[in-house]
Symmetry: C2
Subunit: 645 residues, 2 copies
């Protein structure tokens, strides 16, 4: 059920779902309402007048009985219950034209969904691990071929399966299992990557178990490990779970983890820690999914190169040492038990290949999930985080690189920075006349801090109304007490301490903005450098794919305004979500993809930014909002000029 909400005097119209809060609806329309408490209903500033239609809630001690009777409600606690006309009390005589130039409507990127039906229709839903029921003839006089030969010959003749092999460990079990249900068995087969490769039989079970065949997909993040259990019969996700990576206490980032492995049995410890985490994730997933551990045939894992080497117990020291060399790009399939995963002895583990020390399997998984390697459009793939990875290309070629963005996007190096959890300021608007803020927090509770996507929107809004300049410095002249100098640092007060959970004013400071500018500058200039190296310009980019938890929340217009993303139509930006996990999932479900991974890896050219002289120039040019070269951002330029005229 969706309703139409019209905001006056702006005359902005927006469609929203039932029960959406009015304050979020306003922000979505780009309508500012003063609000300091993050949407928790305590500051009482977000009074609006319901002129037509019904809302639920929105009544508060901040509203007199009279106000209520007139139709005033608090926008933050009022929920849309019908088509509405809502008037925002505008405190000054603002021109309508000015009103319309305010905060632009929010556009987060479209989410990309995997189309299982298309996969099935195109005949690509052939998991790399399949079960086949074999109705064998029992051994008898005149037909006493060996048990394994009986299985292989039947697969060859009745199922057109060839190049079959079976490991010794399984051969050991065959003679007894094959007789358990009178030569009726189910064979589990791993498909080869090469079409003419070996079909490996990894399990033989008595009877027909073909309807119980499951896989696990795991994204091994430096911070968090996510897993899913998949039904290989239907392609459905039956359960999922995330856990903090148990290695965290040994270092926040990959470099400190690598350094930890260089001492004593550090490698062993970090291997054990991540395996423990993955085993917890597996346990939770299969419990949620109602799957028996013994029914898991395969697991696909992806992580950055350091996470991958720690998982596989491979010394990662050369990843961090010039010239930054990973152990391997491709890893062979192996038994999950070999790396101590708590899975059956026949379960096959597949590891996503990486490209270099800093463009790892997680990125390749995302590229595979995004389908950009099959597209004719020039695509910019960005995984935004402390380590930002960028891939540019299309079906014919791809280039990639990694840039160290610093932790600003993840709330690090920001005075009140935090992860995007409850209480994080995630959206913001500012009154261009009074400079009063509108604050929305995750969970509509009193604010605790600022998350990465909130920081981007903050910077964009502050830039638009001239609270900060293109270098990220506050305009000390503005007539508002919210801009202030404290302990020699200039800042803007977002929330007064009484409306926070932390009993301190929450502010955004110039050093915060510096860190943000450096982070977005590193990303943008990385993309620019890559494009430069292959003789293209930023205007050639036809499509952007955002990966990582960050991508789903970031307001695209804001990201463009500050120069994090190149100027592009919002509808050309897609949000992939956890691309690494999605890539693992697809790998579990279709062997066709697995066959393409090797090709993608071999067509991808890696650049080390440190070795490209122009990178530093591009980086210096990007340390402005949005950029020194305003011609890269013609629309932002026009809008900023319009707002400030």
């Amino acid at each position: 059920m969706t309703y139409t909400v019209t905001f006056l005097p702006h005359d902005k119209v927006v469609e929203v779902g039932e029960n959406e809060s009015l304050i979020r609806t306003a922000l979505e329309a780009g309508v500012h309402i003063n609000a300091s408490c993050g949407g928790s209903g305590v500051c009482g500033k977000c009074r609006v007048l319901i002129e037509e239609g019904q809302v639920a809630g929105g009544v508060s001690e901040h509203l007199s009985r009279e106000d209520q009777d007139q139709g005033y409600r608090l926008a933050c606690t009022a929920q849309v219950a019908s088509d509405l006309t809502v008037r925002i009390p505008v405190e000054s005589d603002m021109e309508t034209s000015r009103l319309n130039q305010q905060a632009p409507a929010r556009h987060t990127a479209r989410a990309m969904h995997m189309d299982m039906e298309a996969l099935k229709e195109n005949g690509l839903f052939i998991p790399p691990v399949e079960k086949i029921f074999l109705d064998l003839d029992p051994a008898m006089e005149g037909d006493n071929q060996a048990d394994v030969a009986r299985i292989i010959n039947h697969l060859r003749i009745a199922h057109d399966e060839h190049h079959l092999t079976m490991d010794l460990a399984l051969i050991r079990k065959v003679p007894d299992i094959i007789r358990e249900q009178d030569f009726k068995v189910t064979a589990t087969i791993v498909r080869p990557v090469r079409k003419d490769g070996r079909n490996r039989i990894i399990n033989i079970e008595a009877g027909d178990t073909t309807d119980r065949n499951f896989a696990i997909a795991v994204d091994i993040g430096t911070t968090t490990v996510y897993g899913q259990v998949l039904d290989l019969h239907t392609g459905e996700v039956l359960g999922q779970h995330g856990e903090f990576n148990g290695q965290i206490s040994y270092g926040e980032d990959v470099i400190s983890r690598i350094i930890y492995t260089e001492k004593g049995n550090g490698l062993e410890i970090l291997h054990e820690k991540v395996v423990e985490t993955i085993n917890t994730v597996i346990g939770k997933c299969i419990k949620k999914g109602g799957v028996n551990r013994s029914e898991i045939s395969t697991i696909t894992l992806a992580g950055n190169s350091t996470m991958t080497q720690l998982l596989l117990s491979i010394n990662p020291t050369y990843i961090r040492k010039d010239p930054y060399v990973p152990a391997s790009i491709l890893y062979p399939p192996f038994l999950a038990r070999e790396i101590h995963l708590d899975l059956p002895e026949h379960t096959i583990a597949l590891i996503y290949p990486g490209v270099s020390s800093y463009v790892g399997g997680d990125i390749i998984a995302g590229v595979m999930a995004s389908g950009m390697y099959q597209s004719s459009e020039l695509t910019l793939y960005m995984d935004i985080g402390t380590n930002a990875e960028i891939v540019i290309g299309h079906q014919d070629w791809m280039v990639c690189t990694a840039a160290s963005a610093g932790p600003a996007f993840e709330g690090g190096g920001v005075k009140f920075g935090m992860r995007a959890t409850k209480g994080a300021i995630e959206d913001f608007s500012i009154d261009p006349e009074t400079y009063e803020p509108m604050i929305i927090t995750v969970g509509n509770v009193k604010a605790k801090g600022i998350c990465g996507s909130g920081l981007i929107t903050l910077a964009a809004r502050l830039l638009e109304v001239g609270v900060i300049d293109s270098r990220g410095k506050f305009n000390r002249e503005l007539p508002t007490s919210r801009i202030r100098e404290k302990d020699d640092i200039w800042e803007y007060v977002l929330v007064d301490k009484e409306n926070t959970q932390i009993d301190r004013d929450i502010t955004i400071t110039e050093p915060d903005l510096d860190n943000l500018i450096r982070a977005k500058g590193a990303m943008y200039s990385a993309a620019l450098t890559l494009l430069d190296e292959i003789g293209l310009g930023i205007q050639d980019v036809e499509r952007i794919i955002l990966a990582g938890g960050f991508g789903s929340y970031v307001d695209l217009e804001s990201a463009i305004t500050i120069g994090l993303l190149p100027e592009i139509e919002p509808e050309k930006v897609t949000y992939l979500g956890n691309g690494s996990l999605l890539g693992c999932k697809i790998n579990c479900l279709t062997n066709a993809l697995r066959r393409q991974v090797g090709e993608v890896v071999s067509m991808m050219t890696n650049f080390e930014l440190a070795t490209i002289p122009s990178y530093m120039d591009h980086y210096m040019g990007a340390l402005f909002l949005p950029h020194t070269e305003m011609n890269y951002f013609p629309k932002v330029k026009a809008r900023l000029e319009g707002l400030r005229k």
Copy 2:
């Protein structure tokens, strides 16, 4: 140095090597000399007169000074030292024609030798495991590809090696090893069986170690395990060793071993026992060969199906149970450590495939070593032992079967039967007038018993002179005290107790002959049945290959005379020796053979004799010396008739 020895009055001439004993020279020429002590010099009966030339030794207290001056010597202790003319004292007036019809000259089968030079000339000396030195470019700025990719790309570009894979366990070691000698490494590669299969890199060593690459070949006999260490650089055997199979105390034959596995942890125990034995053999081999354990790249093992399954810890119970099903025909290559062999963690184990429960990898190894699968001649391959395996065929097809011959050929079920060790009667001749024996023992010592090949010669000689009839019964009428009845059993006294080591008369009895006849009957009728099944006759056989320890000693004429072997020219019989070990050796040295093994196995049709009704008829017909159907043995028939006329 060879000399010509002429025996008078027989006028038989023979060429022998220097230092050959005169008594063996006589037997080789088919000349009878009375001799009871096995060649140990104690009975003094083997007086001969040296008419021309020089012998060494042969002087004894049994000869008076006068005799010695005349030129008499004991044949058993006299050694040929020049061309000789030797006169044998003939006790009666035997016709010369009769003399020449005596014991035929001995023809053991020609040994088959592997022609390393031909292998090298034909470009087939490409071991399945090869070492290649890689002079890699060190990683540097602008060339920081992954370590494993660096190795694989170099192999691809500089050495034209493709489809390369590396296991996780090795990838773990690469980053450190590759830097140990500045990116100079040696790669050990396992060749695939299929030409388009994967080349598996199993080891990376720092520096150039290409000149140190070794393999182990092991024949796992039910009784004895033989091993060799091979230089994969030259093809040379550097050391070899044999040990009794440690499983012996758990059962003499395969059936009792299988039964043992059916109780408690019997399979585990028998696996451990044979592994212990193999590990001892490996240890001795590499010590003798001056090879370091870490330098062993591969091991090839062959055994019958039961030995193979026990080695691989695979329940063998269905081998002995109707319808006699082995677990598998082919086994994949695996790590030697997987079956607890004391070899480096990278060493690859290859197992010879078998065909059925009773035609195992040892036979296939022998067939491969014999080259019969490449010959256009119809070949009869016989592995003579308690379990006799027979393969018939040529380059286009092959059939095989196994027959239970009983232990007579290995000295079992024979009153004075023993293995062919020191003191075993291995050759025999009998005076057709006096029925006095000529005995030669292994090692020329006093007799202890009769070995398998000796038993065959005994039966043939006794048959020729009419001491026994075609049913193996003694002629009770002959005027000699050597034929006697004792405890209701008829026997012929071979050695009086004073000339034995055991202080008892050594005899051959009718039950001994019965067992021999059943054993040879089982073998011959197995061959006949196989031929029958494929519409051929025994006369179509163009070539015979004898495998097993037995084959090298057996006198071919005797074997034909008793009907163990079909009538064929002795030069068409080849002795392969330990075909299983030889097959393993060739497998270690040439991958071309390995590729053919699968083809051979799949072209081979196995017959279970028990399911072929005609087998019993053929068997009954073969329980005569040489056979009920004398037309199968026209020359033997003629000779026997000639001798007895």
